[in-house]
């Protein structure tokens, strides 16, 4: 069952074509990786899906009732709040009742290793802690679809492994997940299927168990290299 379908997405920033006719769909329960170099248009694509930026073309088909959790690329919070207060604030916006909220907040802070820092102002959080908090708030209200933009950025080696482990666990719990990354290994390990984006276009696609396919790395380098080559020619 398709949970999300994007067809012919186009995004223009003035004259810059950030996304250029991108089409793909996401199946329920699937972990889809969006892989691409910096500036490929991954974040822009996600913003279009979330309705955070207007479409210059194409359409996004998604069930409006579906609950979506979003962890942004650069986590931005109200810095005067503590980690707990940030979670509380978002739980209120989602209209979670107090009991459910408190239970979930406690569990999510624990899960992301932030329990000890819950009372600390977000202003004093490290980059990795902000990333964890971004992840924790995305899980509030038990969303069916999780959209994670660079979920491992800012994390140290151990944090990275922990984060990927968490994501894997969520997948086994049946959540549909989209992960954005420019880091091949992050996606290679976790994704069921990977879409490679370069210059706003679909440059390749692969399934994890797709034996006929080249290794993801080969495909990635080929796809990106190929497109980059075209880019330098023009």
């Amino acid at each position: 069952m398709k949970i999300l379908e994007c067809s012919g997405l186009v995004k223009m920033y003035g004259k810059v074509k950030a996304v250029d006719g991108l089409s793909f769909s996401v199946e329920k329960g699937e972990l889809l990786g969006l892989l691409g170099p910096n500036g490929a248009g991954k974040t822009t694509t996600i913003k279009m899906i979330l309705g955070l930026t207007s479409l210059s073309g194409g359409k996004v088909i998604i069930d409006r009732d579906i609950k979506i959790g979003y962890s942004p690329e650069t986590p931005y919070f109200h810095l005067f709040l503590t980690g707990y207060e940030v979670m509380r604030f978002y739980s209120q916006l989602q209209k979670l009742d107090r009991r459910t909220a408190d239970r979930q907040i406690g569990r999510l802070l624990e899960l992301t290793g932030l329990s000890g820092a819950a009372g600390k102002k977000v202003k004093n959080y490290s980059k990795g802690m902000l990333q964890r908090l971004a992840f924790a708030q995305a899980l509030l209200g038990e969303p069916e679809l999780l959209i994670l933009d660079e979920p491992t950025s800012g994390l140290d080696a151990v944090g990275r492994i922990e984060m990927l482990g968490l994501i894997e666990r969520l997948k086994y719990e049946g959540k549909t997940i989209i992960i954005n990354s420019h880091i091949l290994s992050d996606i290679e390990k976790t994704a069921d299927r990977t879409i490679i984006i370069a210059n706003g276009r679909l440059a390749g696609m692969t399934g994890k168990n797709d034996l006929a396919c080249n290794s993801l790395e080969e495909l990635f380098v080929k796809a990106v290299g190929g497109v980059a080559h075209v880019g330098t020619d023009t």
Partner: protein, 252 residues
């Protein structure tokens, strides 16, 4: 929406703002309680309580209205710039709910500044031995608050679309025009041409701050109160607030 309003209010009145308000409040207090020996209005020395009231209210009004502009100026642009908008909007908050809540938060923060500043007026009443005036003093401050509320709402609404410096300058301009409303009315009504028509239209949209302030002062001195400027200010406040339902940014 309550969570958004509360959050905005908290962010506005935290730390720095609080100290600024406290400091200015003290300065006003000092001025009011010691200044009566050398202050003159129209060549007459101001000494009695009745004369001091409007003066004190004007000063408190001036400061708190500037604070209303300052406090409200950056809330909405900041929200867009640091992208805190994203994690709010994906939670199904509608643009109008968002802008309305931020504006209400700004208004509450402005009122808070106003009330804290005017606590000095209450002390002033006590200093003059007019304990019976404490309650009218509150009423008077509440009337003054209408000006702050309008300024805060107008500045908030402008800041949805306009750059901060333009909003700030326009906010100050609105305040000045509101205070000098009477004089400007006379000027605009005697002048002719397109400019005069424009001026009259602009003035129509700006409340008469000094008339409202006058009513606030009348409450304290026991003079009769004219509800007209108060009501028309409230209508303009309503109009300004209603713009939060239609204005939003294209890029969030």
């Amino acid at each position: 929406m309550l969570a958004l309003i509360h959050n905005t209010f908290r962010e506005r009145i935290r730390g720095k703002t609080f100290y600024i308000v406290g400091f200015i409040g003290m300065v006003i207090m000092l001025f009011i309680t010691t200044g009566d020996s050398n202050l003159t209005i129209n060549g007459k020395k101001v000494t009695g309580f009745e004369q001091m009231v409007p003066v004190a209210l004007s000063i408190a009004g001036f400061v708190s209205n500037l604070l209303a502009v300052m406090v409200s100026l950056r809330t909405i642009p900041d929200e867009f710039e640091r992208k805190t908008t994203h994690l709010v909007l994906i939670r199904g908050i509608k643009p109008w709910q968002y802008m309305f809540s931020l504006t209400v938060g700004n208004i509450l923060a402005s009122l808070f500044c106003m009330f804290s500043l005017n606590a000095s007026l209450a002390i002033f009443c006590i200093a003059y031995g007019r304990l019976g005036l404490i309650i009218p003093a509150f009423l008077s401050v509440a009337i003054m608050g209408i000006n702050s509320m309008f300024l805060s709402a107008a500045v908030s609404v402008m800041s949805i679309k306009a750059p901060v410096y333009i909003t700030g300058i326009t906010g100050i301009f609105i305040y000045a025009a509101g205070i000098l409303h009477g004089v400007l009315d006379t000027l605009a009504n005697t002048a002719q041409g397109v400019g005069a028509v424009l001026a009259r239209a602009t003035l129509f949209l700006i409340p008469d701050f000094s008339a409202v302030q006058q009513q606030a002062s009348n409450v304290l001195t026991g003079a009769p109160i004219d509800p007209e400027p108060i009501l028309s200010s409230l209508i303009l406040l309503y109009l300004a607030m209603s713009l939060t339902f239609v204005l939003f940014r294209k890029e969030v």
